[in-house]
Point group: C2
Chain length 168, copies 2
């Protein structure tokens, strides 16, 4: 079967999409590293833990919510534990599982750094898009995620997730 190449509009869009996926993460990382000594991914880990009522999630659940592989998460949580932001305990009902828990210090650090983070997200994303574009982007990202992660293994949208949460 012969290759279906991209037409001009698709190509231009693709080039810019690649640029965005390259520049957005580094922009977020820079701001957070400078202002909060956190990677964007580390921030995400703390944020997801903070949304759980008990500030505790099993490693595999946390991996889903942060779109991470388990090895990656394991390394990051160990570092966060070294800094006192998280602690790990064995799950009592399933001895294989590990519970990651946000400490007071971790929560405090998250609360401190959230405003600066939200500010840059506004500035770089939502302030430059019209409300219609935000809605469009919502639909587009939903479609893309379905393709990129069909079973919702990472984003967990098969188990009734996607609930809006108190803050990012």
């Amino acid at each position: 079967m012969s290759t279906r190449w991209l037409d001009a509009e698709e190509l231009a869009t693709w080039v810019r999409l690649v640029a965005v996926t390259e520049l957005l993460p580094s922009t977020l990382d820079q701001q957070l590293r400078r202002d909060a000594s956190l990677t964007h991914f580390e921030y995400l880990v703390l944020a997801m833990l903070s949304e759980d009522p008990g500030h505790t999630l099993q490693m595999s659940a946390l991996a889903q919510r942060t779109n991470a592989t388990l090895p990656r998460l394991s390394h990051v949580v160990r570092r966060l534990e070294d800094r006192g932001f998280v602690d790990r305990t064995r799950n009592s009902t399933d001895a294989r599982a590990t519970n990651a828990h946000l400490t007071e210090a971790g929560l405090a650090h998250l609360v401190d750094s959230a405003p600066g983070h939200v500010e840059i997200v506004r500035e770089k994303i939502f302030d430059v898009l019209t409300p219609e574009q935000v809605t469009q982007l919502g639909a587009i990202t939903t479609a893309l995620l379905d393709a990129l992660d069909p079973e919702g293994r990472m984003t967990g949208h098969t188990i009734g997730s996607h609930r809006p949460s108190s803050k990012e």
Copy 2:
């Protein structure tokens, strides 16, 4: 000034956008590493070189087109040179500059791997979006790039670039 938090729709969109910027690169990397022993970024370097008539670009120009920092590019080009896909020569008119040049072997490797790459781009992106969504995404990414890279330092849209090219 108090923080302007994200509303529910913005938050949901943001979470998915982050997921896409996390999953898309790893998806591309996996496919290219498996089928072509190339990083997506390495592929991009070869592709950008292939679009120049002389298959040659100055390092700084190449860095712009690939949204990369110069140190990063320098390391990658050295590795590509070790594999025989690229060679580097001093620019004759400006002795500070380095010209990166795509070799025959490099071009051949690129041509071999292009169909597989385009295929996954279609499958994960354009096949799951409607034509209207592609147009919308084009406008959205343009707005985002203006915010993420105002001077167009990376993407070079101040110097009349953005020309559609023969292939990605």
